[in-house]
Symmetry: C2
Subunit: 170 residues, 2 copies
DNA sequence: CACCATTATTTGCTTTCGCAACTACATTCG
DNA sequence: CGAATGTAGTTGCGAAAGCAAATAATGGTG
């Protein structure tokens, strides 16, 4: 199989596997997070990006890109987290159009507990599945894909957010 | 959260990459499908599973699993496709509780055009990104993950109680 | 400095989706 | 057989998310 082009349906299948894997994981996390922290996976996704950013804060648009939400979706998500007292908004001093989302003290405290628990859950879910090499390979291949997709976003004239995602995550 | 092993951090990042890749692809497909066929990516996902099944039909529950929807979500999705005349329901003769979703003639005709176009789109999006080996590897790794997740679903999918993991089990 | 195009975020509206309750059929077992 | 339990799918309902339009602040131009 070394140099043959990949067949059409193999490609479609791979894409399908990607979607299925993502939603499978999402659902698994969702259940656990809901039960233990009363958080949706999406909320957690937002919170974890904040928790892993310097100063526990990010611009709304940056956060939207990282959390795979549209600006509008993120606005609502942050609204909800604000109501729960986990996140606050801070007006950007340099540009008064802009806003930062910031973890509150409560939010930070929650995440200090939730992140290790989540890591343990991921570990539990993936344990014994991959060799270290495989896991590294998967990470590499996915990063390649993601970077390409976000670059393509700009290229194809879709909503061009700067594709420098996950600054604190890697 | 400060002193997590690096390995775990990488894991979280990989999971993040998976989510981002999936939504990136989803958004890309969505835009194209919406523009060219007035189809959502989710509808297309349902249709393509049917189109690729023997007889262009699948049981509702099987289709739900493949399309990453809950039974209820699939019911609605098939409702919509039925209103559009692309899919029909067929009662299962062996088990009158059950139903098949079947592509109609229109649905088949649509997919006969849409699938090659979609394949071309996927090709366009992925062109030059992976070697054949890499693509095969990605497919392999994702299949492993998906199969594991679906097995896990059956195994301890719904119970949050049995958090007892034996470390070093594998 | 007033004007226009641009960028960052929010809001109105609509669609989609999941959960839980419900219906209908099937299967098991006394 | 007939009640009890299980399974397939649907429905009511509320939450979440996207699109498009609105709002607000910037930046550039003449």
């Amino acid at each position: 199989m070394a140099q043959l082009p990949v067949k059409d349906d193999e490609r479609l299948t791979t894409v399908g596997l990607l979607f299925e894997s993502a939603s499978g994981l999402r659902r698994l996390f969702q259940t656990r997070l809901e039960a233990e922290r009363s958080l949706s996976n999406q909320s957690f996704e937002v919170l974890i990006r904040l928790a892993r950013s310097p100063g526990s804060e990010l611009r709304m648009s940056e956060l939207a890109a990282q959390a795979s939400l549209t600006p509008s979706g993120l606005t609502r998500s942050v609204d909800r987290l604000q109501e729960q007292g986990l996140v606050a908004r801070r007006v950007c001093p340099d540009d008064r159009r802009g806003a930062f989302a910031v973890l509150t003290t409560d939010g930070r405290a929650l995440m200090d507990k939730a992140i290790p628990a989540h890591v343990a859950h991921v570990d539990e879910v993936l344990r014994g599945l991959y060799t270290a090499d495989e896991e590294e390979m998967l990470s590499l291949l996915l990063r390649k894909l993601r970077d390409h997709l976000f670059a393509a976003d700009a290229e194809w004239g879709l909503t061009a957010e700067d594709a420098d995602i996950c600054p604190g995550a890697e």
